[in-house]
């Protein structure tokens, strides 16, 4: 039930960290200015939204769930907030409504998984489609929703650098630290690991498994909302089209890449940070090398495959490490 790897064993997290360091080293030799402080900050900033989403996803996966509705609930909640702002509503109304919407989605996800006992992958997949459909039909008419000019200062905040770091980077690192501490030291955090490791045993030992599951999905929906707010600050708009894109898979990728097992209970927040950083380093370096979109995709895919192969070689699967439900 331990979140980390056993002492002395090389886990996927360490492998990905090593690959990240190697890739980082190669880029710093190849690219002038790659090592500048400004570039390193910008590298983290470009993946901070992905990383924040990854934290929420990690919490659900650690508890042997998954939240495929994150991107849909994020984009609809934020787009609805922008629609309200554009209609002249104050932020003090629009933001709480968006929060309420996200909490509602989280509770519904939790009820479907915990009480109706639908497997999380199907429940949240269906919820994502439902949220998007409901949102597009009742709340948000257009795909692209711009931040109104009156609220431009929200976007301008992004240029402010408290602590010398951009707001998205602070949000990502802050959330990661909070999630790490909560999972490690709070009772509910340990419960999530217990549930992920063995839900039956957790229930027998008195963990309120069903209500914990609901909580878990509410947290992931709220984290998604935060990621959406950061995204809106960066690009001054929200395009609900991202729901039909690959963002949700990218989020699962950074989570799994760093070594969080899809079967729950194994891995930690550091895994998400490491996975996110590797993606950030690759995106940044390949953009600086001005590689084409297709070449970038090929290289990204090869490095990821390499990481998986290396992990299988170092940690071969056997009866003891394999778990029921492992994907």
């Amino acid at each position: 039930m331990s979140g980390g790897n056993r002492r002395g064993r090389i886990g996927q997290e360490q492998i990905i960290l090593a690959i990240a360091i190697v890739v980082f080293g190669v880029f710093s030799v190849l690219i002038r200015d790659f090592l500048s402080a400004g570039n390193i900050v910008s590298m983290v900033q470009s993946v901070s939204v992905l990383g924040i989403l990854g934290l929420g996803m990690a919490i659900t996966i650690l508890g042997r769930g998954i939240d495929l509705s994150m991107v849909a609930s994020m984009s609809v909640a934020i787009a609805w907030m922008l629609v309200q702002l554009n209609a002249g509503a104050p932020l003090a109304q629009a933001l709480p409504m968006a929060i309420a919407f996200s909490v509602m989605v989280g509770i519904l996800n939790g009820i479907l998984v915990a009480y109706v006992e639908i497997p999380a992958i199907f429940a949240t997949l269906a919820m994502g489609v439902t949220v998007y459909g409901f949102g597009k039909y009742f709340l948000v008419e257009s795909d692209v929703n711009h931040l109104p000019e009156a609220w431009r200062w929200l976007a301008d905040l992004v240029a402010a650098r408290p602590l010398g770091l951009p707001v998205p980077v602070i949000a990502f690192l802050g959330c990661a630290a909070l999630a790490h501490l909560a999972l490690r030291y709070l009772r509910d955090g340990r419960f999530i690991y217990a549930m992920g490791d063995n839900p039956e045993a957790a229930r027998t030992t008195g963990v309120p498994v069903r209500s914990m599951m609901v909580l878990q999905y509410v947290i992931s929906a709220l984290i998604a909302l935060l990621a959406g707010l950061i995204m809106t600050m960066l690009v001054a708009s929200m395009n609900t089209r991202i729901v039909s894109g690959t963002l949700v898979y990218d989020v699962i990728l950074v989570v799994v890449l760093g070594g969080i097992s899809l079967s729950g209970g194994r891995g930690g927040i550091l895994s998400v940070v490491v996975g996110t950083l590797l993606i950030g380093i690759m995106l940044n370096g390949m953009t600086m090398l001005n590689l084409t979109f297709t070449a970038q995709n090929v290289i990204k895919a090869l490095i990821l495959l390499f990481a998986l192969v290396l992990d299988t070689l170092i940690n071969p699967r056997d009866e003891q490490t394999a778990q029921q439900g492992d994907i």
């Binding site: 690219i31 200015d33 500048s36 400004g38 570039n39 910008s42 590298m43 900033q45 470009s46 993946v47 939204v49 597009k136 008419e141 257009s142 795909d143 692209v144 711009h146 000019e149 431009r152 976007a155 301008d156 992004v158 240029a159 951009p166 995204m231 960066l234 690009v235 001054a236 708009s237 395009n239 609900t240 089209r241 991202i242 039909s244 894109g245 995106l283 940044n284 953009t287 600086m288 001005n290 084409t292 979109f293 297709t294």
Partner: protein
């Protein structure tokens, strides 16, 4: 001439002139015009409803359809090429009098355009065209948008600047994106003072445009200008410029449908330095004109293809007027 004869002649003249008057008042145009359009069915398959271009076209087309008593059948594939193929296939089965389709690329709907023509249904392609020419193409000359965008940057990034420009492309496989890029490269090649230091695809996405621009600005802090490919994605490009504290220092030239929110508002706030609008309100008018022409002419489908390339309007802070851009509300009320 006796009195009786005079009366008779007068009467005859009066009768004649009255008949002539009736003949003159009998319009030779309007009845057949209304008849050609009344009760007709026009199928519309955009790549997705719900964004400024398609909403603007539909608002304009719907207004004319309501006015003239024909029907617009909208099938929304929501960004999915497969759904689009299904929608067009089933529409061909339903045999509307005309099809308006927006292509995702220059391949996917190629066979469907041929099938529609074989079934005798005229097709208007909008914004992007497949290889098969159909009855009408309405949309921009993408190559020209590329050259115009690049020219704006060449003008501002001449002597005294670094001459460095970056290109934030659309999707690498989209013909619109390929043509714009070609236009930019060709024009830059003729101007040795200007160099392209980076050319990256943002996949029409604001977040990706942000990430690319942020990185490029780190690598080239002396960057003079950026060529963007679409206003919606370039809110992200502008965001990265703002975040780097370079607003007003880096020239951002981009293009789009000319909606007030996505276009003029950004020019006014200084986020876009130069904005080339292909004016969706004008395109809606072009669509309506093409619909009226094709439904009246009744030529065999595909027999006389023509194009109406959307005129470009270059909008900057200096020449912008309240009517430079449009809103959906305006098109719905009085456009098209």
């Amino acid at each position: 001439m006796d009195y009786k004869k005079m009366v008779k002649t007068g009467l005859a003249c009066a009768v004649l002139s009255m008949t002539a008057g009736v003949v003159l008042a009998q319009d030779s145009v309007a009845p057949s015009y209304y008849e050609a359009l009344k009760g007709k069915k026009v199928g519309f398959v955009p790549i997705s409803m719900g964004f400024d271009l398609t909403q603007g076209w539909l608002a304009g087309m719907q207004r004319q359809a309501d006015d003239l008593g024909y029907e617009i059948i909208v099938r929304d594939p929501n960004w999915s090429v497969e759904s689009g193929i299904q929608a067009i296939t089933s529409l061909i089965e339903e045999a509307p009098d005309l099809l308006v389709i927006q292509n995702n690329d220059n391949q996917s709907y190629n066979r469907l355009v041929q099938q529609a023509a074989a079934a005798g249904i005229p097709v208007i392609q909008v914004q992007q065209s497949v290889e098969t020419k159909s009855d009408a193409y309405i949309g921009p000359d993408w190559y020209r948008i590329g050259t115009v965008t690049a020219q704006a940057l060449v003008d501002k990034c001449g002597a005294g600047t670094s001459g460095k420009i970056a290109v934030v492309e659309g999707a690498t496989a989209a013909p619109a994106s390929i043509l714009m890029k070609q236009g930019i490269e060709d024009l830059v090649a003729k101007n040795p003072g200007v160099t392209i230091v980076s050319s990256q695809a943002a996949d029409w996405d604001a977040s990706k445009a942000f990430a690319i621009t942020a990185t490029v600005l780190q690598q080239n802090p002396d960057l003079c200008g950026i060529a963007g490919f679409w206003d919606v994605a370039d809110t992200g490009t502008a965001g990265a410029i703002r975040e780097a504290g370079l607003e007003g220092k880096v020239v951002l030239a981009t293009s789009g449908g000319g909606s007030r929110e996505a276009g003029c508002a950004k020019v006014e706030s200084g986020e876009f330095s130069v904005y080339n609008s292909y004016n969706v309100a004008g395109q809606a008018r072009d669509l309506n004109d093409a619909i009226k022409m094709l439904l009246q002419a009744k030529l065999p489908a595909g027999s006389a293809p023509f194009a109406l390339l959307s005129p470009l309007v270059q909008i900057t802070k200096d020449n912008m007027t309240p009517s430079s851009c449009w809103t959906l509300d305006e098109i719905g009320k009085s456009g098209g």
